[in-house]
Symmetry: C2
Subunit: 248 residues, 2 copies
DNA sequence: AGACATGTTTGATCTGCATCAAGGCCAAAT
DNA sequence: ATTTGGCCTTGATGCAGATCAAACATGTCT
């Protein structure tokens, strides 16, 4: 066994998953040092494109603050979001030099980047990084498959409810908030971005959000601020199995 | 660097990816021996369920022959296929004890299984297995994201054309067939399974297959045997970027 | 204050796919 | 030879969500 007692080490990079988790106490300093050497930060403004599909991508990165999206586009302009990156999420693919999707900052964004070549070398000599990355990728794959069920089989109303539940959950998780009482959060996406996430038009998104409000499932303050008084009520609207785990 | 000159070793397990790729010549015998010790085969008949979502899953496996599907089901019976496993595909998730989807044999199926515990131990001591698995999982994630674009934004006709192109490609790849002249293959799925793959109803699938036939994009012999005389013509119907790579 | 841009809501209409329903094909069972 | 059952096709109808269009809300620039 290459590693010993695992512990979490804190560092300036927040939730950066590469360094945050499964760092072995004994190897820690050496490993962290090497990571420090190859890392650098990048900032983007809301709306800026980080990278276009097909462009050369010579780094991997994790989101420090802000939100980014992965989208695929068809020639005629139809767009489908295929990934939503919140802080601590990883982007990039060891072993591939070309981006497969457009990556866009939807809010101001800071990413912690690692140049690909040295990162891959580090991966070679540090097996648990590959294992951690595998774990994360499998989680993403599970999320993608939930998403496929949503896209293929859910109604517009269920899609909206599902998205709100997903954001509420992730938000609560980030804030480490207790899962009691009202849940309050700001939508990090425009109606159009929500539509791209859900495979709908922005008009349908708008209508269904209004409908959920009218039916008392959610409350709206302005256009982005959401209040969920009864999370179970929202969950019932998602169409998912009821025992899907409460705010995880 | 833990490994040396990589080479492919052949063995009775066909395309099994775990053992097929990236096996280091020097470590080979030891590693293969340990894999042999923990592997076993399982057979299923067409239509049999391999495992239900939520069930305990104490193995990982790769498909040797036949076809399996991963599907998610909503309480009211709506179904969405989220994975299609052809020979050499991997199923299961190190680090999780419960199946997240229904796994079903759609044809007679043979899988090469590894009990999870020893497999995970082997992964610990054999870093390149984790790396290989990571590579495969990232490929699957890419495929899932293509699939999301299909589910969210493509028309019924584009969905059918895309599915046919996917199967034609994988089929051709398996058979190592040259990519010239007519492409001929048998659909491994019923109309209903195609519908579950595409987020459609079986009636719509039937109608659109007929329409592609009527329009000369494909020819049909019986209900399952497909002849594609001009693959580019089919690709044009998919809505994908034209330069999506010819038959690979 | 007015003009403009961006994002959102709401209404009217259209349409692609779902739904409901009936019948055809074919292989296996009796 | 007929029945059975699985799979597939085709037709008629309905509806959820797309599309087209207009107006509103909010913030910012001049």
């Amino acid at each position: 066994m290459a590693h010993h007692d695992l512990q979490t080490v804190s560092h300036e990079c927040g939730d950066c998953p590469i360094r945050h988790r499964a760092v072995c106490a004994r190897c820690e300093s050496d490993e962290l040092q090497r990571l420090e050497q190859i890392k650098y930060y990048r900032s983007y403004q809301a709306g800026q494109t980080v990278i276009w599909s097909g462009d050369r991508m010579d780094f991997v990165a994790s989101v420090v603050t802000g939100i980014a999206t992965l989208t695929q586009t068809m020639e005629d302009g139809r767009r489908q979001m295929v990934g939503l990156l919140l802080p601590s999420d990883f982007v990039g693919r060891p072993g591939r030099t070309t981006a497969a999707y457009d990556v866009t900052a939807t809010t101001d964004l800071v990413m912690c980047c690692f140049r690909k070549k040295p990162f891959e070398e580090l991966m070679q000599s540090t097996p648990h990084i590959a294992q951690r990355l595998l774990e994360m990728t499998l989680d993403e794959l599970d999320a993608a498959r939930e998403w496929m069920l949503l896209l293929g089989r859910k109604t517009a109303r269920e899609k909206i409810a599902s998205l709100l539940a997903i954001i509420a959950r992730r938000d609560a998780h980030l804030k480490l908030k207790a899962a009691k009482g009202s849940i309050v959060f700001d939508l990090p996406l425009t109606r159009e971005e929500m539509a791209d996430y859900l495979g709908l038009t922005l008009e349908t998104v708008s209508r269904q959000v209004s409908a959920l409000k009218r039916d008392g499932v959610i409350e709206l303050e302005g256009k982005r601020h959401i209040i969920v008084r009864d999370f179970d009520l929202l969950l019932e609207e998602t169409g998912d199995d009821s025992d899907g785990g409460y705010l995880v």
